[in-house]
């Protein structure tokens, strides 16, 4: 990372060893020029002091899982941690096995890969992830709260990272975090007034990880929230990096 490219507003972020939990790579049929290829994405990460990112591929989200995963493998970089995409088909599970995943991203909605999140549909996939301690990554936009509860109840050791929870989520999110110890969420859209700071004060820093939604959103927004939260340095560092690295299993930084 070149320090000279770093945004002056966030020069402190260079020491946080940031890993971003919510990043997309590649061409998008929906988001046009906002989508970024590998080198442009890395340059944008440099600007904001983001050392590593948990990355999924737009092709896997918008079109074909196998092809998207192949594109992700092709564009891989030492600073990317792949969030391979999956669906319940046996062939996809077999492909997944060869990738030795640390994280798997799921797209349930009808305009994505259109499968039920219920255990009768995806139970084998959840079981696979749970057995191998692979992090399941899913956007709240893909899964309603009650459907999430079914998964959490039936697969109690499955680690789930919920992205894009939204700032209106606390009456759902907070009781679920209390009840299910392997549920985590990212900070991208947790942006009500002093919500992030209040969460850390009340619940501690362990269950929240930094996310920006790059390249669709500017990391300046999520970094602004993290940088100005009146929390301890230890808590900030945990959210910036060590929480997610722990979930993914000791990654080199």
């Amino acid at each position: 990372m070149s320090p000279s490219n770093l945004e002056p507003a966030f020069d402190e972020a260079a020491s946080w060893n940031l890993i971003d939990a919510n990043v997309h790579l590649g061409h998008s049929g929906v988001h046009g020029e906002l989508a970024l290829g590998k080198s442009a994405l890395l340059a944008e990460m440099d600007r904001f002091g983001i050392r590593q990112a948990l990355v999924s591929h737009f092709t896997a989200e918008e079109y074909d899982i196998s092809e998207g995963n192949a594109a992700l493998a092709r564009d891989m970089d030492v600073r990317f941690v792949p969030a391979w995409s999956a669906s319940p088909e046996a062939s996809i599970l077999k492909e997944l096995e060869q990738r030795k995943p640390k994280a798997v991203r799921l797209w349930f909605s009808p305009l994505r890969h259109n499968f039920s999140s219920a255990p009768w549909s995806a139970g084998e996939l959840y079981d696979y992830l749970q057995q191998r301690a692979i992090l399941m990554v899913v956007s709240r936009e893909e899964l309603d709260w009650d459907a999430l509860v079914v998964i959490l109840k039936d697969f109690p050791k499955l680690q789930i990272l919920l992205l894009d929870v939204g700032y209106r989520s606390d009456r759902y999110l907070l009781p679920l975090l209390q009840r299910f110890p392997h549920l985590y969420f990212d900070s991208t859209s947790y942006v009500a007034h002093r919500q992030f700071e209040s969460f850390v004060e009340t619940h501690g820093p362990e269950r929240i990880v930094f996310g920006s939604r790059l390249p669709l959103y500017t990391p300046g927004a999520a970094l602004g929230v993290l940088a100005t939260a009146r929390i301890s340095d230890e808590a900030r560092l945990a959210i910036a990096g060590s929480n997610l690295r722990r979930l993914l299993g000791e990654l080199p930084s």
Partner: protein, 254 residues
Amino acid sequence: MRSPVPVVDCHGHIGTHPDFPAYKICPQEMVRVMDLLNIESLAITSTRACYNDCRRGNKEVEDVLRQYPGRFRGYITVNPNPEGEAMVQLECFSHFHKPPLIKFHPDLHKYPVHGPKYLPIWDYAHQTHAVVLVHTWDSDPTCGPPLFGPIARRFPGARILLGHCGVTWRGYEQSIEIARNCPNTFLDISGSQSHRTILEHCVNQIGDERVLFGSDMPYLEAAMVLGRVLTARISDESKASILRHNFLRLLHEA
């Protein structure tokens, strides 16, 4: 992160909200956050008035203005229902600011911004050169940005802030289109969606003089919007205009 320029914020609130728990919303806590981020002053509308009761809500704003002189400016929030009540509110709280600052929330008040009950209020805003902050949302039938072109042309004395610029990327495109064609419209960049490059796009399309910093505090996190502005690929002069000078000019305090 702290703003290098003392910020004059065009979009804030006081009070709680029904749809999720509120944190640190008392004016004293808000002032602490404003000091943390270097927000010199915040123009506030009553959240109670947006949701439920304009009379009580505007009175609450009055109390905060008295309690914290210089840190807050007050919008008079009006509801077109019941008919005639809005004019009473405008009269009653006309001492908040000159020119008047007026807030509409057509979405929560369930009445379209171009409906006939709003006409006397728009006319008042035109006559008094009021600054009118209106909540907007992408293509919404009560407050979508495309509805504002005819209003802005019919009431050129009103200075219309398109609150949140319609929020989504498409909402921003709609807002920019209105701003390009109507010089009395302005873009308030508060909102929960932090589209990458959108601020650069706004400045490229309409210049930096009609783009205004709004935080939506204490509904949304002010540091989110500040982070967007400070890291946008625009000049430092443009950032200073957005963070401070543009709203001061609208307030006739530049």
